[in-house]
């Protein structure tokens, strides 16, 4: 059972407690327009172009079967049309064209994560994120169990937009669930992500009933989902479930736009909030919610 991942990154400080090593799994059922990790949306490998490394030799342009690259190597047309054949990556002498997406076995992933063991120190561990890790639940389960046998805890960062049995299958392998709650209003949720949030609510109940440790993770995008109603919805949800230990507010950050550029995609068009605005959200939520509220 191999996983398809974009990367395994060390020293992640915002995806669970302690120092964590994050496994970015490819593929996501949702299409949130503010996505920070657009390279993980597609479930198949894709080429990214790192302008700073490019020597503009044009090798990739000559190699691309779809004619997607300009003669100087930069993106010319819609990067979404990239089929991930890897011809440009093999042709590039400079490491400027990079394939995002590779297959990895649970054993290899666990071995890589274990290199970071000295840094976990009883607090940190692995975090499976993405993309949507529950789309590759079997891989996550196997890797997490390997890690657990070696004393390394695992967290999963998920939209919970996945079949109930995928959630159930991980209950015994995952120590902490970092669960997205993107928008309380079901209609608005559908508008933003393309899907209803009712299944997400149901999976949360399921996790809670099973005694899972949960942190609610709420991306907030100015003018999109920062309404008082949504904040009230977050508070109500958090207070309604015993298993939810805390709420993390994740204010929009435009880091995804740099990756969108490297993928040949247009910018997402959102503006990051000011510090005062972020603190206002946190203060408002703290006034409504009994659980700890943290500003990411």
């Amino acid at each position: 059972m191999n996983g398809i991942i974009t990367d395994i990154l060390s020293f992640s400080l915002n995806d669970g407690p302690g120092i964590r090593t994050a496994v970015f799994l490819k593929g996501c059922p949702l299409r949130c327009p503010w996505c920070h990790n657009p390279e993980t949306l597609s479930g198949t490998p894709q080429a990214m172009w790192f302008a700073a490394r490019c020597v503009h030799c044009g090798a990739c342009a000559r190699a691309c079967p779809k004619g997607l690259r300009a003669e100087d190597g930069s993106w010319r047309t819609d990067g979404a049309a990239c089929v991930g054949c890897g011809a440009c990556v093999r042709a590039c002498p400079a490491g400027a064209s990079v394939m995002k997406g590779r297959r990895v076995t649970p054993e290899a992933a666990a071995a890589r994560i274990e290199r970071d063991r000295p840094f976990f120190r009883g607090r940190g561990g692995a975090t499976f994120t993405g993309g949507e890790p529950l789309l590759q639940a079997a891989f996550v389960k196997e890797t997490a169990l390997l890690l657990r046998r070696r004393g390394i805890p695992s967290a999963v960062e998920t939209s919970l937009f996945a079949p109930a049995d995928a959630v159930d299958s991980l209950l015994d392998a995952v120590d902490l669930w970092l669960c997205d709650w993107k928008e309380t209003d079901p209609e608005k949720h559908r508008l933003l992500t393309g899907e209803d949030n009712a299944p997400v609510r149901e999976r949360l109940r399921r996790l809670d009933a099973a005694g899972a440790r949960i942190v609610l993770r709420c991306p907030l995008i100015p003018g999109v989902n920062d309404s008082p109603e949504h904040l009230a919805g977050i508070a109500a949800l958090a207070d309604s479930m015993k298993g939810i230990e805390a709420v993390d507010l994740l204010p929009y950050h435009n880091i995804g736009n740099d990756k969108r550029k490297k993928l040949g995609l247009p910018p997402d068009g959102f503006t990051p909030p000011e510090q005062g605005e972020k603190e206002g959200w946190a203060a408002a939520l703290r006034g409504l919610c009994r659980k700890p509220v943290r500003l990411g």
Partner: protein, 757 residues
């Protein structure tokens, strides 16, 4: 450096002290070596003394005159080189001689001085003893100007003196010990010479105090009330120290500063241990307020900054202190004062160990968070083990490890070992590829081990590189011995010898059998540049066979001109700093080789140990300016890697991978390694638990020390555009810290390109 030596404006045309010094030196030519040095010190120490300045709490301002005797003299307004023992700043003397308003008599007399000292200064005497091989391979000492693989440094100042003994006994106590030994009557001629000379030195120091006391009383007469109180307090202190041992914290600091200023050693050892009891006693007895203690420490630090302006290590914390609780209390105020002081000297360093007081650790990280690069962090568990192995001493002695200047390990109060030579390992590879010729200046250099075609396997190339490095390492060890021997035959280094174990007990000068451990060290530069280059050569030339070694050499010789694709391929090869077994393995292989080969020189040269220090100041930039493009993809004449760190920016796999790479080679056969980290302030402010985990993990992995620069993302880029906005952006370059905006552009580029985490 502005403050280190007298500038032209402070030197009169007649140079009376220089003539008096030279007269004394000549008059005592027939005396014992120690006696002559004592006589010379009696002339040159008072001549270099300066009066206190407003706001000072301690006397002992001093500037080196162009002639003198000191373990170290250095003046970057003239040749910028280190001089040792009897030194002569010939450029400075010539400048006074050539002044337009100089009299013909003075001019002729100064010409005579220059003529005498050009061969009589100890640096020149060392060179005069060079055998033909040393002369050929080390034609120049001007490492900042000339091209070469190896250069001599002529430094002996690095030793951590026994300030504890100084403040516990005072000058009278030291005098009594010498008198007792002399009175015992079983001294041979050499011991007699040495001990008598040390007595004379104590008289010189007492005389200095007397002269300061008179100055202070005169200052008090004309001063307003507030100043008068301070001058009088200092005067009684100067009076007391002539007759008694220190009676209070202020006395103890005064005596340490005076001794440091005139001894020519620049480092302050385990200050928390030797000042801790005084500080705690006076504080708890209600004799010293926090405010006054801060005032005293700030004055002390200001003097370090203004007079030494270099090295000034101040070590806090660690195993092996006799008074850990008192020492820790001093450590807290020492860091508080340094944060307030806001300058690069002293270089506050914190030895960390399992079980240390959490309050001291927390205060250290709070201080580090300010972004002054202090304290520099040391890992006691790994360092003590390394020192036991590298310096071949007991655990008890290894717990006394200290370090100076850039961080070179030495045993507190009982060993010497200032780096005495530097080697550019990237250059060693370069001359190996060029048949024993330096392609930058075209001269023969090193061994001719064959043409590129002769290296038909990678193993042959690697063996040739190692042979080249061994050749230069042997030269460095011989040069180290030659410096020691020449200094031994010239002077007794009386000020250092008086406070280094076991000189007084043995009645012998430090280098003449007095010091317990006469060690040596030598600095390597470009370790990782050389390692990454070899990794890339192995991959492209020998494994993938994409081009020949000769073709690669030609590409490097023309700095990748028309070969950008090749440069890109070289850059894409594995690099140190990414937890990559190929890259880290190569670094480990060549590091281990030079560590072991260097350590093996100790026995041959009669040293207690001879070790590599892998700590770079900005010489990685200076030596890089004379190094062609390298096979790691580095462009010609740009900076080399720094210390045990990746080539700037080549660590792309995250902080844990960088630390694993840095920890991948056993560093215990070194006398110190620099691990530079550039961390975001956010990590300190929002993720303190994780920061603690990170440090503990690095220590568990065996990293000896960490140099941490803390800043906000974008600060450096912005500071290059708007330097006026960033007067307090401090960075650790490697062996020293600096205001970023005051660094030379080459070093700015190095630091800027290091990865920030």
């Amino acid at each position: 450096m502005r403050y280190f030596a007298w500038d032209d404006a402070h030197l009169g045309n007649a140079l009376e002290p220089e003539f008096a010094f030279t007269e004394t030196y000549r008059a005592h030519a027939g005396d014992g070596i120690a006696a002559r040095e004592a006589a010379c010190l009696a002339v040159c120490l008072p001549a270099s003394a300066l009066p206190p300045e407003p706001g000072d709490w301690f006397v002992g301002r001093r500037k080196y005159r162009p002639l003198g005797v000191s373990p170290s003299y250095w003046n970057d307004e003239t040749d910028g080189l280190d001089h040792v023992s009897y030194y002569a700043d010939l450029d400075r003397l010539a400048r006074v001689m050539d002044r337009p308003d100089q009299t013909p008599e003075n001019r002729a007399a100064i010409a005579g001085l220059i003529d005498f000292w050009k061969d009589e200064n100890v640096n020149a005497k060392v060179r005069a003893r060079f055998d033909p091989e040393l002369a050929k391979q080390m034609p120049s000492d001007r490492w900042t100007r000339d091209s070469g693989v190896i250069f001599g440094l002529y430094r002996l100042a690095g030793a951590q003196l026994d300030y504890d003994k100084l403040v516990l006994q005072g000058l009278p106590g030291l005098r009594r010990e010498l008198e007792r030994l002399l009175a015992a009557g079983d001294c041979d001629e050499k011991q007699q010479d040495f001990l008598t000379a040390e007595l004379s030195l104590i008289s010189t120091l007492t005389g200095l105090l007397a002269s300061y006391e008179a100055q202070l009383r005169a200052l008090a007469e004309g001063a307003g009330e507030a100043d008068r109180e301070r001058w009088l307090s200092m005067a009684s202190c100067a009076a007391r120290l002539q007759r008694e041992k220190p009676a209070c914290f202020q006395d103890a600091v005064q005596l340490v500063w005076l001794y440091s200023a005139f001894s020519g050693t620049l480092d302050f050892g385990r200050m928390d241990e030797y000042l801790g009891d005084w500080y705690v006693h006076d504080t708890d007895a209600g004799l010293l307020t926090h405010e006054r203690a801060m005032e005293l420490l700030l004055s002390f630090y200001r003097l370090m900054r203004q007079i030494h302006n270099r090295d000034t290590r101040l070590i806090l914390g660690g195993l092996g202190r006799r008074n850990p609780e008192n020492a820790d209390r001093f450590a807290l105020i020492a860091m508080e004062a340094s944060a307030k002081h806001g300058e690069m000297q002293p270089q506050v360093s914190l030895r960390m160990y399992k079980g240390m007081d959490p309050a001291v650790r927390r205060a250290g990280l709070d201080f580090l968070q300010l972004g002054m690069s202090y304290p520099l962090l040391y890992n006691d568990e790994a360092s003590v083990a390394a020192v036991m192995k590298g310096m071949r001493v007991s655990r008890e002695e290894a717990e006394q490890y200290a370090f100076f200047g850039c961080g070179e390990y030495v045993l507190n109060r009982m060993s010497m070992g200032t780096p005495n030579d530097i080697i550019n390992l990237a250059k060693a590879l370069e001359v190996t590829l060029h048949g024993g010729r330096d392609p930058v200046d075209g001269k023969e250099h090193g061994l001719d081990l064959g043409a590129p075609e002769d290296f038909d396997t990678f193993e042959k190339l690697l063996a040739a590189y190692k042979k080249q490095v061994e050749y230069f390492t042997e030269l460095a060890a011989r040069h180290q011995r030659l410096v020691y021997d020449t200094v031994r035959d010239s002077g007794a280094m009386l000020m250092m010898s008086l406070l280094l174990k076991d000189c007084v007990a043995r009645g012998r000068a430090a280098i003449d059998g007095g010091i317990r451990y006469l060690a040596g060290t030598y600095e390597t530069y470009g370790n990782i540049t050389a390692a990454d280059s070899l990794t890339a050569i192995r991959s492209l030339v020998y494994e993938q066979k994409l081009l020949s070694l000769r073709e690669l050499r030609e590409i490097l010789d023309r700095d990748f001109e028309g070969a950008e694709e090749w440069r890109a391929k070289l850059l894409a090869c594995p690099k140190f700093g990414n937890d990559d077994p190929a890259a880290d393995g190569m670094a480990g292989e060549i590091d281990r080789h030079i560590f072991e080969f260097t350590a093996a020189q100790a026995e041959k040269q009669g040293l207690s140990s001879y070790l590599v220090v892998m700590i770079n100041n900005d010489a990685n930039v200076v030596l890089g300016r004379k190094t062609l493009a390298t096979a790691d993809g580095r462009r010609a004449y740009t900076y080399l890697s720094n210390g045990n760190g990746p080539m700037a920016g080549m660590d792309r796999s995250g902080l844990t991978s960088l630390i694993r790479s840095m920890a991948s080679t056993d560093m215990s056969l070194t006398a110190g390694t620099a691990q530079n980290l550039k961390l975001s302030r956010d990590l300190f402010v929002r993720h303190r638990d994780e920061l603690n985990d990170l440090i503990d993990a690095a220590w568990d992995l065996g990293i000896l020390s960490l140099n941490v620069s803390v800043m906000n993302p974008g600060d450096m880029e912005d500071a290059m555009a708007h330097p006026e906005k960033y007067p307090n952006l401090f960075v650790r370059v490697g062996g020293f810290s600096a205001r970023f905006t005051e660094l030379d552009p080459g070093t700015q580029q190095d630091v800027l390109h290091r990865t920030m985490y």
